[in-house]
């Protein structure tokens, strides 16, 4: 077996940076939710606000589920990562469609606020997050300045590491 295909010696961090980023994205989605709920209420009344809330939940859930799939698969192997990401993509798109269609049949659905909230929050949160991630070997994931107080890893060499 060639060295390029033998992944046994690949050392991967236990806590995934993608999960840290996804949690931060979900936290930021909660921060911006009042603005989108108000926008939904203006565009479609109560139905619009509920639809905007559903769109926010779907965006945050999509990020968290995607990160969980990657984090789980990367602990198995790199080949599992490839399969899980592509399968997870199909599953997540299917879940989005099923949840939205099920919600649409309840009568509380307003398509325009839902669509605006879904696209704007997904792209907006990601664009904002690019400023908060760190592309260094020392700090993969969120930049140290973007971490909440208490989230920083311990620098004390005598303290037990998880």
């Amino acid at each position: 077996m060639s060295a390029a295909t033998d992944h046994a010696d690949v050392v991967l961090p236990a806590e995934g940076p993608e999960q840290e980023i996804a949690r931060d994205l979900a936290r930021r989605a909660a921060w911006v939710s009042p603005a989108f709920l108000v926008l939904g209420a203006v565009l479609g009344g109560v139905d619009g606000a509920v639809s905007a809330g559903l769109a926010l939940l779907l965006v945050a859930g999509n990020f968290l589920l995607g990160a969980a799939i990657i984090g789980r698969a990367v602990s198995v192997s790199l080949n599992a990562l490839y399969g899980a990401v592509l399968l997870g993509y199909v599953v997540r798109l299917g879940l989005l469609a099923v949840i939205a269609l099920a919600f649409k049949s309840t009568g509380w659905f307003s398509a325009v606020p839902f669509a605006i909230t879904l696209l704007v929050t997904h792209l907006g949160l990601l664009a904002a997050e690019t400023k908060r991630v760190s592309m260094t070997l020392a700090h993969p994931g969120l930049a140290p300045s973007a971490r909440k107080v208490g989230d920083e890893p311990s620098t004390d060499p005598t303290s037990p590491q998880e």
Binding site: P17, E18, I21, A22, L86, Y89, A115, G141
Partner: protein
């Protein structure tokens, strides 16, 4: 009577065609991001295999790349929701 039946049939057919078009649009819109995600993940895996010490950095970039690519599929999803009768 026949005229009313013909109009009803045409209306139902239109609704059915809308649903088929929405489903096809969503499926077609998901193809491009699928290829893009495959490229992103493939290159990230290659990077992690070549330089295991930079796996965290590759995973960060990979996650953001996947999420940005997925936005294209979400546009197809929004069109699907707007078109569905």
């Amino acid at each position: 009577m026949l005229n009313v039946l013909a109009q009803t049939a045409a209306g139902e057919m239109l609704e059915g065609l809308k649903a088929i078009g929405a489903g096809l649009g969503y499926g077609l819109a998901a193809i491009g991001p699928g290829i893009g995600i495959g490229t992103v993940v493939g290159n990230a895996i290659s990077a992690m295999a070549r330089q295991p010490e930079s796996a965290g950095m590759a995973r960060t970039t990979m996650f953001l790349g996947i999420a940005f690519t997925e936005a294209l599929a979400l546009i197809g999803f929004v069109v699907f929701i707007l078109l569905m009768p």
